[in-house]
């Protein structure tokens, strides 16, 4: 009930914010900030005061929706979704802070779309009826595409179109898989059901389940993204406004990983096990390809976008090893990557606001005029290449340990990717902050300081004391 209320509140708040901006200029961002903070607190209180500890999936509501297909509005929480939703709240607030000065046109409508995207993302993380999941999966796309298409940079229409079409076509494949599994449930038990917990009890022969798994896998591989369906990501990230990139990289990519864990691996364990070598190969290719392409980029955001591909390759590799250590690593990487790439995109946005360019050739020597920004940039670049002390290191370390137990060659290849990440991390930092000063830029202001320091604090906290996160994610595998 509370969660549905939260999503509805976001929707209503979006409308209110949109109208309010017409009356009082500049009210939209404050209202959004307050709403998000408020709802995040409601969520935290709800989770803490609930009488279970969410190691198992706790179903919270189950209401009949479309009777003809026995589709229900069912939502549930467990520790995995709590972790990811918390990340969403944090990044949502960061998004509002990042867009504070950046969005100048149609501000009310922008915050409407932002709040709606958050509502959709939360819906994705809590839906346990497959139809409802698909519903939210698509719905979270719409306002995100609007954000890219309306407030993005020069090539935004093409980027938004590509983003949408890639996701939509793969989602249709997933829809076919969902329907097929639902009707398989019908033939097995005599009742049509799209309920996740019912599906967990299904006995699927391998010949059938490998195709079903593939349908789901393709949709999540596009979202993750994984080579070869990754080509929407660089364009979407580069052309989106800063908050769009933060949300995309920080949260939307995680929905792909969430889908892999929750649906592909848990629903079709045998088929996943059979598919694991292929998935692992794709993952390693993503890692190395992402790193190589990142190194070659001249656009700040595009470089970070390719680094996302590389990091998510680690996640996929870890997930398909089916070891506990690797799962822990994957989840930590998810959170860490969310935080670090959000930070890097925020930095990109800050630089863009100052010099109106994302091109690395236009940058250089910013350390001299903005040492604070430089410090943070170094820290976040370090996060990107897995500097110990920051959360990404924990994630990558655990992942590699897990992978090495099962597929040692892949672990070695993935480790090569680590070297690549160090290279592009340093390239990023050096091109922008070291060398001869091309511009004089203003150092970090108060709002920007809040953004950067909060993200860095989280990264350090998890990096130095990972139990903070691990005690929530340990129960996932069981």
């Amino acid at each position: 009930m509370t969660l549905s209320f939260i999503m509805l509140a976001l929707l209503v708040a979006g409308g209110v914010v949109w109208r309010a901006e017409k009356q009082w200029q500049g009210s939209a961002k404050w209202l959004s900030l307050i709403t998000l903070a408020l709802l995040a607190t409601v969520f935290t209180v709800f989770v803490m005061s609930h009488n279970t500890d969410f190691t198992q999936l706790q179903v919270l509501s189950r209401v009949t929706w479309i009777d003809t297909f026995n589709i229900q509005y069912s939502i549930a929480l467990d520790q995995l979704s709590i972790v990811l939703i918390s990340l969403t709240w944090l990044l949502a607030i960061i998004c509002v802070l990042v867009s504070w000065q950046e969005i100048k046109t149609n501000v009310g409508f922008y915050y409407f779309n932002l709040l709606l995207t958050i509502a959709g993302i939360i819906g994705v993380f809590i839906a346990v009826d497959m139809f409802l999941f698909f519903f939210f999966w698509e719905v979270m796309l719409l306002p995100m595409t609007a954000i890219i298409a309306i407030w993005g940079h020069e090539n935004r229409h093409f980027a938004a179109l590509k983003f949408f079409i890639f996701t939509q076509v793969s989602s249709l494949l997933m829809l076919v898989a969902i329907i097929a599994t639902g009707y398989f449930h019908l033939t097995q038990t005599g009742q049509l059901s799209f309920y996740y917990l019912d599906w967990l009890k299904l006995e699927l022969p391998l010949s059938v389940s490998q195709y079903l798994m593939l349908g789901f896998f393709i949709a999540f591989a596009v979202k993750l993204p994984s080579v070869p369906v990754h080509s929407w990501l660089p364009d979407a990230h580069t052309q989106a406004p800063t908050a769009g990139s933060v949300l995309l990289a920080g949260v939307l990519l995680k929905t792909g990983a969430y889908g892999l864990i929750r649906f592909v691996i848990f629903l079709f364990p045998q088929a996943s096990a059979q598919f694991a070598p292929i998935a692992a190969t794709l993952a390693v290719v993503s890692i190395i390809y992402g790193a190589k392409m990142a190194f070659a980029q001249k656009d700040f955001k595009r470089l970070v976008a390719y680094s996302s591909i590389s990091h998510m390759g680690f996640v996929m590799l870890a997930l398909f090893t089916f070891t506990n250590v690797a799962y822990q690593g994957a989840i930590v990487t998810l959170v860490a990557h969310g935080l670090s790439s959000a930070a890097l995109f925020a930095l990109a946005g800050m630089i863009y606001q100052r010099i109106h360019s994302r091109n690395l050739n236009d940058m250089g020597g910013f350390w001299q005029s903005a040492p604070r920004m430089g410090g943070f940039a170094l820290a976040f670049a370090g996060a990107a290449f897995g500097l110990p002390g920051l959360a990404n290191f924990i994630g990558e370390f655990f992942s590699l340990v897990g992978v090495f137990q099962v597929m040692p060659t892949f672990a070695i290849l993935a480790a090569l990717g680590l070297i690549g990440s160090a290279i592009y991390g340093m390239v990023l930092f050096q091109s922008s902050f070291q060398g001869t000063a091309k511009h004089e830029i203003i150092d970090l202001q108060a709002r920007e300081l809040i953004i950067c320091s909060s993200l860095l604090l989280m990264l350090l906290a998890i990096g130095l004391y990972p139990t903070l996160l691990l005690k929530f994610s340990y129960g996932v595998l069981t």
């Binding site: 929706w65 479309i66 009777d67 003809t68 297909f69 046109t105 149609n106 139809f131 698909f134 519903f135 698509e138 719905v139 719409l142 595409t145 609007a146 298409a149 309306i150 229409h157 938004a160 179109l161 949408f164 079409i165 939509q168 076509v169 249709l172 494949l173 829809l175 076919v176 329907i179 097929a180 009707y183």
Partner: protein
């Protein structure tokens, strides 16, 4: 010597039967009275109002029929829940097209009363079609629908395209109905019974000489119907006629004729179990896949909005044909549900789109010129309600959740998945993907910032009727997209 008439039902018309076809009777009497009205007083408002009253009365009578069981009215007509639902859709479309037509016609100097007569005739034809149970009534309804449409398509004398599109539509439609008639003639000559409920044994198909004629007849019949449905490869008239006719007429073309034809096709095939024939399935398969792919691909480079939506309607009919191909004896009820829901979604979307195009034509251009993609640039900032309506309609056509169109696609995919029709599913996915490539840029255009000075013409939703229409359509597509059970219950009764 009296030739016995092939008939075995009681020859008299009971009260129940008369009640069952009351909506059609109301429309028929309405037409007669309208003729008298035109003779008495030539005023457009009067006859527009009268037509509205007639349609509303017929709609009310129709809705009260939704709960009655199936009744066979004479040999020719059979009124069941599905046909009542379809007729409701048709009446609602006519009702929505009415104020649009009125606005469109009052902008002209002459008093155009015959338009409303033709509209009522069209509705009557469609009503006969959806309740028909016999090839003769199918033919009657089909022709009534087609000829009225020819008159409506070529209605606007001053328009540069009216003669061309009117003639194209007449010649192609007449040829198509001839094909269909020849098909019926062949089928009749081999089977001896023109009723849909006739039982035709397998041996008839496989007779040495005449069996060929039967199959040929079936093919011709399907071709004739496929023309009306604008299914590839019989779609060539669609873009030109959509573009050349006045926009309210396009609205009627896109909705009423498609609904009526598809429902009667489904009725005929379901009753006669034609779908079990191999050849028919193969032909329909080819038609469906070609429509889905061709319709979407050809729409990609269209600049004219009406032509774009013409091609998209070709693709949608392709999607609907999937349901026809995969249906089987057991899940006939589910097939009907899918078809009717998808038709409802498609109708709402098309009505919305053409309302916006019509309103734009009236406010933006002087000579009812064509609306192109550049005309809708930045519409969201100038007239948000129109843009919102258009966005919802396009999302529905693209099959995005939150809209009725998605539920319709879900129905179709479910049917196809149960039947393991993988090629059809693949064509649907590819077609939808291509479809997005022209639907989304439309939406993006709506949001783009204004650039040219002549775009600053203020657009407003002035008329109260327009406001009601626009907002109620927005409401309908959203509400039924999120809570489709209501419509499901309606169809199932």
């Amino acid at each position: 010597m009296m030739m016995p008439v092939a008939d075995n039902t009681p020859a008299f018309l009971t009260m129940a039967m008369a009640g069952a076809i009351l909506p059609q009777l109301i429309i028929a009497f309405g037409i007669a009275l309208a003729l008298l009205l035109v003779a008495w007083r030539r005023s457009q408002r009067t006859i527009a109002l009268f037509t509205g009253v007639v349609i509303v009365m017929a709609l009310l009578a129709n809705i009260s029929l939704l709960v009655t069981p199936a009744i066979q009215v004479t040999q020719l007509l059979k009124v069941d829940g599905y046909s009542t639902f379809a007729f409701s859709l048709i009446l609602i479309s006519a009702l929505v097209a009415l104020p649009m037509s009125h606005k469109f016609l009052s902008a002209q100097i002459e008093v155009h009363d015959e338009y409303y007569l033709l509209l009522l005739l069209m509705v009557l034809g469609a009503g006969v079609l959806v309740t028909s149970d016999h090839y003769a009534s199918l033919f009657l309804g089909f022709e009534l629908l087609s000829i009225s449409l020819v008159g409506l398509v070529g209605y606007q004398r001053e328009s540069q395209y009216s003669v061309e599109s009117g003639f194209k539509y007449l010649i192609l439609s007449a040829s198509a109905s001839s094909f269909m008639l020849l098909g019926i003639a062949f089928i009749y000559s081999v089977s001896g019974d023109m009723s849909f409920s006739a039982v035709i044994s397998k041996t008839i198909y496989n007779q040495p000489d005449l069996g060929v004629f039967f199959q040929l007849g079936l093919l011709l019949f399907v071709s004739g119907v496929a023309f009306k449905l604008s299914v590839a490869p019989f779609h060539f008239w669609t873009p030109d006629v959509y573009q050349g006719s006045p926009t309210p007429v396009t609205m009627l073309l896109a909705t009423i004729s498609k609904i009526a034809m598809f429902v009667v096709l489904l009725k005929c095939f379901a009753a006669q179990q034609y779908l079990l024939l191999e050849n028919v399935q193969q032909f329909l398969l080819i038609f469906a896949i070609t429509s889905m792919l061709l319709g979407n691909v050809m729409a990609l480079k269209q600049q004219n909005l009406k032509r774009l939506f013409a091609y998209s309607s070709i693709a949608h009919m392709g999607y609907l044909l999937i349901v026809l191909i995969v249906t089987s004896e057991q899940n006939l009820a589910f097939t009907w549900q899918s078809v009717l829901f998808y038709l409802a979604a498609y109708t709402v979307a098309n009505l919305s789109v053409f309302i916006v195009i019509e309103l734009l034509q009236q406010q933006l251009t002087t000579q009812q010129a064509d609306i192109t993609l550049s005309d809708i640039k930045g519409l969201f900032w100038r007239a948000p309600s129109y843009a919102l309506l258009m966005i919802l309609a396009i999302l529905s056509l693209a099959g995005i959740p939150l809209t009725m169109g998605f539920i319709g696609k879900f129905y179709i995919l479910s049917q196809a998945t149960i039947a393991h029709a993988w090629w059809l599913i693949a064509a649907l996915i590819v077609g939808s993907g291509i479809g997005l490539a022209y639907y989304l840029p439309l939406i993006f255009k709506l949001f783009s910032a204004e650039s040219s000075p002549d775009q600053n013409v203020k657009i407003s939703v002035k008329n109260i009727v327009e406001k009601v229409l626009v907002y109620s359509l927005v409401g309908v597509s959203l509400v039924f997209g999120i809570f489709p059970e209501v419509i499901n219950q309606l169809i199932n009764t």
